[in-house]
């Protein structure tokens, strides 16, 4: 079954994830990722971005409950799938890359055997063909002498090489959707730039739908077509990247942008922008804006349900402040 052309590869509607009665990590998340598109979920630790990704894969820890109107992948709702059917999709049509490549790779097996396993399992291929494909992909992700690397173990590789191996592994079965959870956070800046560049090139060549999770607005600005800014389990602002960076509308997004040091712009003695306080833990049943305790523009009404505002085009934000408030405040 193929999806209609205009149907997004991934469509999440009103996703909620709770950990018992203590906390609700995701509160009504909706987003779509189209073919060939990069959608970034950005936010600080604890905002629910990784949990959202894991719930698409149905890999949440025991004790977590997920509910949603739908989680559609190529027109098929993943919510009703059995574990067996889900396991067929994972690593095949939907692939995922995690932050720390050392803990995602098995230290006891060679790179070659781990890469080949994915292909053998999903494509019922022999080892020989799988290894040929693995060598080809290692070359595509920019690893020289792939034949030699196939025989090596993860500990013999640098962090950047390991993450390249993880990307090659994710691409073994030609996925439609790639979910990358902070793929370059553990890497040095020069290596990060190399890996992101390679990922972007491959994505364009293969027409992948990429859901990229990051805490770094710099990565968002340089990589993404669309962005969802998350705070306390909600998307507080979303839009295309040019829209959002041209006129960030949510006070949290603005605060986050002011926190980023940009080289060549620092003035001595001038403090860096910062957001006071810490990210709160939100219990189920919480009403109102999750950011109100840290927000410079908070008012008593912020404890009531928050309206979703239209900022023009695809740009929307979740806040009591009216569109154009930035000009009024300035």
């Amino acid at each position: 079954m193929t999806a209609p052309v205009d149907e997004p590869v991934l469509s999440i509607a009103n996703l909620r994830v709770a950990f018992g009665r203590r906390s609700e990590a995701v509160r009504g998340l909706s987003l779509t990722v189209a073919r060939g598109e990069t959608h970034c979920m950005v936010g600080e630790s604890g905002c629910g971005k990784s949990v959202s990704a894991l719930s698409v894969m149905n890999l949440l820890v025991r004790g977590a409950t997920r509910s949603a109107d739908h989680i559609r992948f190529q027109g098929q709702d993943l919510l009703g799938l059995s574990e067996r059917d889900m396991a067929r999709l994972r690593g095949d049509k939907i692939a995922m890359i995690f932050q720390e490549p050392m803990t995602s790779l098995n230290p006891a097996y060679t790179i070659g055997s781990q890469l080949a396993e994915v292909f053998e399992r999903h494509r019922r291929s022999g080892r020989r063909r799988a290894l040929d494909r693995a060598a080809g992909l290692l070359e595509r992700v920019g690893i020289t002498a792939p034949g030699m690397r196939l025989g090596q173990y993860p500990h013999q590789l640098s962090g950047g090489l390991r993450q390249r191996v993880m990307i090659a592994m994710a691409l073994m079965c030609e996925p439609e959707l790639l979910i990358a959870d902070e793929p370059t956070t553990a890497l040095d800046v020069t290596v990060q730039a190399q890996i992101l560049r390679m990922l972007q090139k491959l994505q364009h060549e293969l027409g992948l739908a990429l859901l990229l999770i990051t805490h770094d607005l710099g990565v968002v600005a340089r990589m993404a077509d669309r962005v969802s800014v998350m705070y306390a389990g909600q998307v507080v602002e979303s839009g295309t990247v040019p829209e959002m960076f041209a006129a960030p509308a949510h006070p949290y997004t603005q605060g986050l942008l002011a926190c980023i040091p940009v080289p060549g712009t620092a003035r001595t003695g001038e403090p860096l922008g910062s957001i006071p306080g810490v990210v709160p833990r939100i219990p189920p049943g919480f009403i109102g804006c999750g950011f109100r305790d840290r927000c410079a523009f908070a008012m008593p009404e912020c404890a009531e349900p928050v309206p979703l505002r239209d900022a023009g085009g695809d740009h929307a934000y979740l806040c009591r402040l009216q569109p154009g408030w930035q000009q009024a405040a300035a």
Partner: protein
Amino acid sequence: MTHAIEVRDVHRMFRQRSGVMGAGRSVRAVDGVSFSLPPGDVLGIVGESGCGKSTLARLITGLLPPSSGEVLVDGRRLAGMDRRERARLIQPVFQDPFSSLNPRQCIRDIVSLPLAAQGDLPKRQRTDRVMQMLERVGISSEMAERLPAALSGGQRQRVAIARALVLRPRIVVCDEPTSALDVSVQAQILNLLAELRREFGLTYLFISHNLAVVEHIATDVAVMYLGRIVEKAPGQDLFCRPAHPYTKALLASVLTPDPGLGIPDVGLGDAYPDPANVPPGCRFHPRCPVAFGDCAVTMPDNIRRNGRLVECLLP
């Protein structure tokens, strides 16, 4: 003038056993570093993982002896200095506030330990000093009774800073103090460190892998590569006019939030630096986009140009 920190041709090697049969290799973590830091200044040290910046921090705080060379703090040799005396002079703040605080002690006891170890203040006065310092870094008195597990990452780093400052040292060595924190909290901690420096007249050695973070706090910046300082210059100069190809690549790799610029091509190739196998000549030449024939042969040792140190053969 007495320098707050003076490092004279310091080397530090580690023996590394490789595998079952391996004869052992030696890793040159710090390979001939010299610099001096006047009191009240902030020297930022940047470089990628494995460049030796944390080893350098440990050498300067006296947690590790150098293989050769010497470290002077406040004009006196660190080697052979009494531990208590050293603690009154120089204190560290580490990267990970989750592992640097004792999980079984309450915040107040953690911060008062350096005072107790000095043993010259009665308990009442110790507690007063601890509470003052905690208040100064933004930790409430009720939080002082809690265990580290009850605090967020940013709050723990505040505690680590209070512990470092409670003895009123003159020099603080900050090793990646914000890299385990979220951006909004990182900015809080950087601003706090800048305030405390002015207030207490502190000298910082500030180590980070993030160039952008260093710019906000440092008066001078040193860039390390494979155990050596390859460029050192006043902060503004280095950020506006980087001279070493490696500094240029590092700066180009910082992803600023500018949509439309795309991912930069830093042109460094795949040859990842290995401190156990330092290349001959200029140690950066295998990755350098502008290397020429002589770079593989001649080591650019201690070249000074327009008031800055640039270890590069290119004019």
